[in-house]
């Protein structure tokens, strides 16, 4: 078994995808995994679509979509890494929306806050105002949905780092459970034991 087919086999076993399809997409998958490992090590992953400046802007948007408070938000979940990988993989077709959207964002910031260097340099309040003004654009909708999915998808896709998204919604990904599942069926079972 060649190194490539061995890795494809291992990945296919782990993901439930067929080995042929994994093999066809192997470079992207491996790159994505390397990034995830790197991210886990350093907190910063190698970017494949965004440059550093773009990533900072997108990360700032994600951090307004799911802000950090007493619980981790999109920033701690590495949603920007998820998006960067999505745009280099499954969602290549959305690259143009991001490229154009970042340009629109730059203009909107200039319009609302002349002289401001960039979105990520604005105060939180200013950022919210800027995004509210852009809330109905296709760009914002795509970033919003990517952020949510990045927050709640399997960590292997770059986001939901340390499962912080799943922890927020108290989701357990064990995929194997025994009843009672929740408060009310446990209560019902207790009441009807007697």
């Amino acid at each position: 078994m060649s190194e490539k087919s061995r890795r494809a086999f291992l990945i296919s076993s782990a993901t439930g995808l067929n080995a042929a399809w994994v093999a066809a997409n192997l470079p992207e998958i491996l790159a994505a995994q390397d990034q995830a490992q790197q991210a886990a090590r350093t907190g910063h992953a190698k970017l494949s679509f965004f440059n550093e400046a773009q990533a900072a802007e997108i990360e700032a948007i994600t951090a307004q979509i799911i802000p950090s408070d007493e619980d981790p938000g999109a920033r701690e979940a590495h949603c920007v890494i998820f998006i960067d990988r999505a745009l280099s993989g499954f969602d290549k077709s959305k690259q143009a929306v991001y490229t154009a959207g970042l340009e629109d964002l730059r203009k909107k910031v200039q319009e609302l806050y002349p002289g401001a260097a960039k979105f990520s340099a604005l105060t939180s309040e200013q950022q919210i105002k800027t995004l509210t003004a852009m809330e109905r654009t296709p760009f914002f909708t795509v970033v919003r949905n990517h952020t949510v999915m990045g927050f709640l998808s399997r960590p292997s896709h770059g986001g939901n780092y340390n499962k912080v998204g799943w922890k927020l919604i108290a989701y357990d990904d064990s995929l194997n459970f025994k009843p009672p599942f929740g408060y009310y069926d446990a209560q019902y079972e207790n009441e009807h034991k007697a």
């Binding site: 995808l17 307004q64 709640l152 998808s153 919604i169 025994k178 408060y183 069926d185």
Partner: protein, 557 residues
Amino acid sequence: MKKFPLNSEVDFVVIGSGAGGGIMAKQLATAGFSVVVLEQGGWGKYGREHEYNKDEWIQLHLPEDQQLMSDPNRQRNTFRRNDREKAKPGNHTYGCVVGGGTVTYGGSSWRHLPYEFKEATTDPTIPSGTGMADWPITYEELEPYYVQAEWEMGISGRKIDSPFLAPMSKDYPVPPVPLKSSGALMMTAAQKLGLTCVPGPLAIITRPYMGRAACVNCGICSGYGCQVRARSSSAVTMLPLAVNTGRCEIRARSYVREITTDGAGRCTGVIYFDAEKKEVRQRAKVVVLSANASESARLLLLSKSGRFPDGLANSSGLVGKYVMYGNGVTATGLFEHPLNEYKGVVSGAAIVDFVPSDPKRGHYGGGRMTARGYQTPFELGLNGLSPGTPHWGAAYKKALKEEANHRMTIQCYVTQMPLETNRVDLDPDVKDEWGLPAMRITSTSHPDDIKNMEFFRQKSIEVLQAAGATRVWAPPVGDTRGGAHNRGTCRMGNDPKTSVVDKYQKAHDVPNLFIVDGSVFVTGGRNHPTMTIQALAFRAADHLVQAAKKGAIKTSF
């Protein structure tokens, strides 16, 4: 798996491998006939189900040959409310994989009740001018086949004597699924309100059965393939048995474009596109059409010839008419404590008191209220929070945290009357990815159906409040635009002028064409069609095998 040479004639070609087709393939092959099953979809994870994907992000991007549902961008369809409108691109989808919709469905396996076969002549609430008609068979005739289907497929449930449930001569083979918190809340509310809440029958096994493992309550259920083979789909029950006879070949990614006929008006086989869109001819002595109510009707309409200028088996002009896509009603409530509905199957319990129609309500209609709260993390985060919640920002995050695991939904499955004006036909302009006329759906529910939905909406709110919900919301009722519960396009009956197939599901016009799927439904029941499709399939197969062995249908047996 047996491979038949492409130029050979087989006894039966079965179009579609879902609820109806899977049973037909197994029954015909085990009876000794040669069978080729043509499935439009791919193999999925047939035979290696443990490889089924449970990753939401991957599921959204499955490669074409691994998708489990049809794709409205490929299997294009159009929709309009009535004939005056120009149909626009629609989003009707259905299971499209070896095993059909049973690979991914929630698994509800309710029988029709005895009166559901004769509502037209017994229910005084039915308004005039609808297509409601009695079935040419009775519940009593079908009952043994319900038992057969429940035991051969593997249905979990509990036999309960109630006027709101079908009488059963035999219990289910395995006990019902756990109640879940949504079910427990529904039980509590039902007790308060004096209603009847029962565990639902499901095509998901709760004990090891016929070589398959019990459900592990993974929670990534409806819409996903089952890794442990607990969901009793055609792909893990009927099809392997058919293949093991050595007389059945399944061909995936084989999209039938025409049923061919000879000068005498008999079917001679089919022409299909293979995975490379190359046309292949498969000859057969008998054709069994099990492509689902919409696609079966469309294929008949596509199979025009000099002898059948309006489409095959369509001398009545009724092919495609009386389609029922089915309506749903939902209401959702939030509760103080966590329900953790992401664990377990979609639904474990239902209130059944409103299954029968009741003159006191002032309109025709009935339905079942099912308890559920199932939401995947994506469903919750993308569009699953209570109305009025912002889509982003601090308030969004707060709701995400507070509402997750604290909600239950009552989803009602309700009646929709057959109307001649509701139908499936061929779109005059739009073509599908194979260059064939796209399916065009024309559908508007009867005003009584809408009133009935509103009745169930109000009842659902009442039940959630009785269960102790801290907040309840129920979106306005909306009329169907298509969907996998499609029924009624080739109705069965004794009169060839008013029906498409006879009581054994043989086309009135074509002696060697059988239609075995939801197409043959005369009325829609309470929008839980699969178990009745399956019981009818066992019955049709029984008759077909007997007739074939007697020589009434010419096969090589």
